[in-house]
């Protein structure tokens, strides 16, 4: 059995699936030995499958699992969620009041937060590298998918970003903000 280039191209996918008759496979094998172009098509198609089949092709966004579980929690245990929401709101109110007192008594010169909805960046490690954009109000972990102006980013340490009035992104910095909140709750309880 002999096959030409066009026949090889139409069967190359099945060939890679192991889904061709032994006679046809042998004929294609022989063809690949001789035909440089078909061999290039074969190698390239194998590479396509290998590359796209790699788990690294698609990364899940930062915080994906947390948000997924939160959504499930809201639907699976709505009453628990309401209680947690109430707890967070109450704690946030206490923290806001506390922050106001601290800010009032503070003598340090710090730029005003760029957003009136800003959260304190106190829980973020001060030497952590973060990125900001000139038009933005938040600082992010490098690679955070919620950065708006990706074309004009600069890196700096968190301490400097806070000094410049940037506040933490609630998504990529969530674990630090939550840790800060938990510490505050412990302090209040304790």
């Amino acid at each position: 059995m002999v096959v030409n280039c066009e026949q090889v191209w139409q069967e190359i996918s099945n060939y890679l699936e192991g889904d061709v008759e032994p006679n046809l496979r042998a004929a294609m094998d022989a063809h690949f030995q001789e035909c440089k172009r078909c061999n290039a098509v074969l190698q390239g198609t194998q590479n396509v499958i290998q590359l796209f089949g790699d788990e690294r092709m698609i990364d899940v966004p930062l915080g994906f699992e947390h948000r997924l579980h939160r959504r499930l929690e809201e639907n699976i245990h709505p009453s628990r969620r309401r209680f947690l929401g109430w707890m967070v709101a109450a704690t946030a109110a206490v923290l806001a009041a506390g922050s106001f007192e601290v800010a009032r008594s503070s003598v340090s010169k710090r730029a005003e937060p760029r957003s009136e909805h800003a959260q304190s960046g106190a829980g973020v490690p001060p030497d952590m590298m973060v990125v900001v954009s000139e038009e933005g109000k938040l600082f992010h972990a490098s690679g955070c998918p919620f950065i708006h102006d990706k074309a004009h980013l600069r890196s700096l340490i968190a301490r400097e970003a806070i000094k410049e009035g940037y506040t933490p992104c609630a998504r990529c910095m969530k674990k630090y903000l939550e840790a800060d909140l938990n510490r505050a709750v412990d302090d209040l309880a304790g």
Binding site: L62, F64, G143
Partner: protein, 229 residues
């Protein structure tokens, strides 16, 4: 094109989303029974190995970060609500991916309906596909996918395929579903899956071979707004 595939994202500290987290079949069956019997907490453990795959399938079809995340969330919610109806006729992972694919495709359709532009490439092309480029592309260095620009090129190429080809390719070559599972998930025949898969693979090779065979410093043909087919 969303930035999801090629974006330089932070590494998630959420180990369970790791592709390496696996459940054996018996553990999975047990978890399914526990959830079906009302132990809702077990659902989180049940879906952990598949969270990443569900997101990846949704992203490959919607090509939008936020939409894909919403599809993934909706998929898991639906799976939870319908778990009592799940029968072990198919794998749990296949069932999940199928829900995700249906949801993602429905959203794509909805988005298209709101657009004025005509829908193109919704039918199988007639005739055989002839490769257009014979650049020699032999080896892939193992670190290739670590490079963001390479992932972006791959994402661009995938996005440029017609939907009917992309969906088949995503399920078969990215989600590693069988030909039969792919056919079932998309509601088409296995023969159509094979035909579309061949075309998708060859088109992608045509798009990518010149870059991998030469240098990525030059823009690929499809990036100029012209598809080579």
């Amino acid at each position: 094109m969303g930035s999801g595939i090629g974006s330089a994202r932070g590494t998630m500290p959420e180990a369970p989303t790791s592709p390496n987290y696996q459940l054996d079949e018996a553990s999975e069956e047990l978890l399914i029974r526990r959830v079906q019997d009302g132990e809702h907490e077990a659902f989180y453990e049940l879906i952990r190995p598949y969270q990443r795959r569900v997101y990846a399938a949704a992203f490959a079809i919607t090509r939008n970060d936020a939409e894909a995340e919403d599809v993934a969330q909706e998929t898991m919610l639906r799976a939870f609500k319908k778990l009592r109806q799940f029968r072990a006729e198919s794998r749990f992972s296949t069932w999940l991916i199928q829900i995700a694919v249906n949801e993602a495709r429905m959203r794509n359709r909805r988005a298209r309906m709101s657009m004025v532009e005509p829908i193109v490439e919704q039918q199988d092309a007639e005739g055989n596909y002839i490769p257009r480029d014979f650049a020699d592309w032999r080896e892939i260095p193992s670190e290739t996918l670590e490079r963001r620009e390479i992932r972006e090129k791959l994402a661009e190429a995938l996005a440029s395929l017609g939907e009917i080809y992309r969906d088949v390719f995503v399920l078969r070559d990215m989600q590693h579903m069988s030909i039969e599972e792919t056919a079932k998930a998309l509601g088409i025949s296995t023969a159509s899956v094979k035909t579309r898969l061949l075309r998708a693979r060859l088109m992608l090779r045509d798009l990518l071979a010149p870059g991998f065979g030469g240098a990525w410093s030059t823009r690929l043909q499809f990036a100029k707004g012209t598809k080579p087919w």
